[in-house]
Symmetry: C2
DNA sequence: CTGAAAGCGCTTACAG
DNA sequence: CTGAAAGCGCTTACAG
């Protein structure tokens, strides 16, 4: 027999309405009765039933999280768990809970998204990635259901999003290498269906352009899968065409694949760079210079942005998270 | 104005009770009216309100997941995300949702655990790790709140748990090495406050015992933190004492730390083994033989066990997940 | 096989 | 500043 608001009301000699107002911090309650009610709650070790509150006020204080398809190694990428940590930390602070669901493909993404939206279980949704013609974004916009997306969407209007400045981060990385004297570049990136891949590639292209270094198309590889294996395989193609002075990649897993290739083939003096600054880099003998994208902050700010908007206390529709080049 | 059970009832010319019975698959409904109700639901695109259902039948069909403290690299360990994936996949199948919360220390663990238990938001809890004198297990037992724990707890009676046979896995690994001719062993493990650390160490000890190989205490290191760094640091201690023929570790991160040490110091012909078979192993030049603990299956079976018990369809209180040595 | 009614534990206009 | 009442959208004994 659980303790309810009625039990508290009886002990405190007030009505259930009053107890409810005390719980929700309604300012119209006198200090005297507030104190009495708190005492009663304490005495009974009363905890409000979150489900009942949700039904009555039509808010669940819960956010839904869609973790995208990843048969690939992508899933061992610490990005997701780090972002989920940031999401959890901000949400805890503001009294929100987080539901997640793992999906294997876009069809499942959409299916579970609908489940979240129609079940009334969550007040808003966090999408962990952005794709070209993203069906999830499309759907949520149509339904006018609150959501935030990690990664700048194609049409950023009327959409909440957080992202790094991927163009700038890659631009700066290439510049750094040019300043070190690198004059021949290879590039390994992920699928151009992702906006962050496009942005990073554009940063690469623009930086070389500005510095007057030509891009060699056969040294530019876009791999469908972001993994150590892909990085390795891409190098086989690259080195069949020539010998770059640096291999710029869009992910540390690709970068480590490249490093493995270099080591296996006893190739020296080729710089390799990546993104994400995964912990594996730190003690690795082969040095990988990497962009720390601050995944945890991406998650943190994503939930912040969404929750602020649910409470109507936000003026902005996006946050840019600072990146940092970690040189090695 | 959301569509409710009443709207459906009106269209189908039945009472709300009947609609409810159709939704919950109550067998006492005639085929004829069942069909009519389904048609009405379809016509209105009706979706039951999960919150209202939860309040009425006192089940939320939601599980709560506590992700333990990890200021350390532990968090980049793919174990967590893989287990969470398994948990999600089984839960989806049986119509359960998953909430997670990240915690920074045992005090927070307990705090958020209480939050879950008292908010009535979840029907059961999944604990991702087991510790010595685990306060969370203690608490949940006292509250008689349903839970499952990944990792065999100290007192396994009246507790649901899933685990590998960590003793056996390590025992087999050591045996394999002995058969290959290894006659001098070093050991790097995690904190002995974790049962899996204890089990793995016992497997190590017993296997050497049986094969008549003595353990050199100064070559046995228990690190508080499971990380690449710790593995490296442990090797500094080990090699100041002598030259083992194999370094057996309880985690691939420790193993990679050891490999890095060997490489940095140009030490060859020392075998290194780990646990988890992380993806980093696959393309790494230095070969790490590893125990694949099947993290995803641990998560999968954990939610299966918990959900089966919530539905009273389970006879067992634990599952052992098979491990597999991946030789390299 | 089906319906009317009470109930799950809250919130919130409305009235005073 | 506080209470009585209706309502949130379901479920489920009870009765027929």
């Amino acid at each position: 027999m659980p303790i309810t608001i009625k039990d508290v009301a009886k002990i405190a000699s007030v009505s259930p309405s009053t107890v409810s107002r005390v719980i929700s911090n309604n300012p119209s309650i006198s200090e005297e009765t507030r104190k009495r009610v708190f005492q009663a709650m304490e005495a009974l070790d009363y905890r409000p039933n979150a489900i009942a509150r949700s039904l009555a006020n039509r808010r669940t204080n819960t956010l839904g999280l869609i973790i995208p398809n990843s048969e690939t190694d992508l899933f061992d990428n610490p990005f997701f768990i780090r972002a989920m940590r940031g999401i959890s930390i901000y949400s805890q602070k503001s009294g929100y809970h987080i539901m997640y669901t793992y999906t294997r493909n876009e069809a499942e993404e959409l299916k579970f998204l609908k489940d979240y939206v129609h079940s009334n279980l969550v007040d808003g949704i966090i999408l962990m990635t952005t794709m070209e013609n993203d069906a999830c974004i499309e759907y949520l916009k149509n339904e006018k259901f609150p959501f935030v997306v990690i990664g700048r969407p194609e049409k950023a209007d009327h959409t909440l999003w957080v992202d790094n400045d991927n163009f700038q981060a890659m631009y700066n990385m290439v510049n750094l290498l040019v300043n070190e004297g690198v004059d021949r570049f290879a590039y390994i990136g992920g699928s151009m269906a992702y906006n962050f891949s496009k942005d990073r590639f554009e940063g690469f292209r623009s930086a070389l352009n500005v510095r007057g270094i030509s891009i060699e198309p056969e040294m530019v590889i876009h791999e469908a899968e972001i993994s150590i294996r892909s990085g390795y395989v891409a190098c086989e193609k690259i080195f069949s065409k020539g010998m770059p002075a640096a291999i710029v990649t869009t992910d540390d897993l690709l970068g480590h694949g490249a490093l493995n290739y270099l080591e296996t083939h006893d190739i020296e003096a080729v710089r390799v760079t990546g993104f994400n600054n995964i912990s594996m880099n730190e003690f690795h003998k082969n040095l990988l210079t990497s962009v720390d994208i601050n995944s945890e902050m991406l998650g943190y700010k994503a939930s912040k942005l969404l929750i602020e908007n649910l409470k109507n206390t936000s003026k902005v529709n996006h946050y840019i998270i600072e990146t940092k080049i970690v040189e090695r």
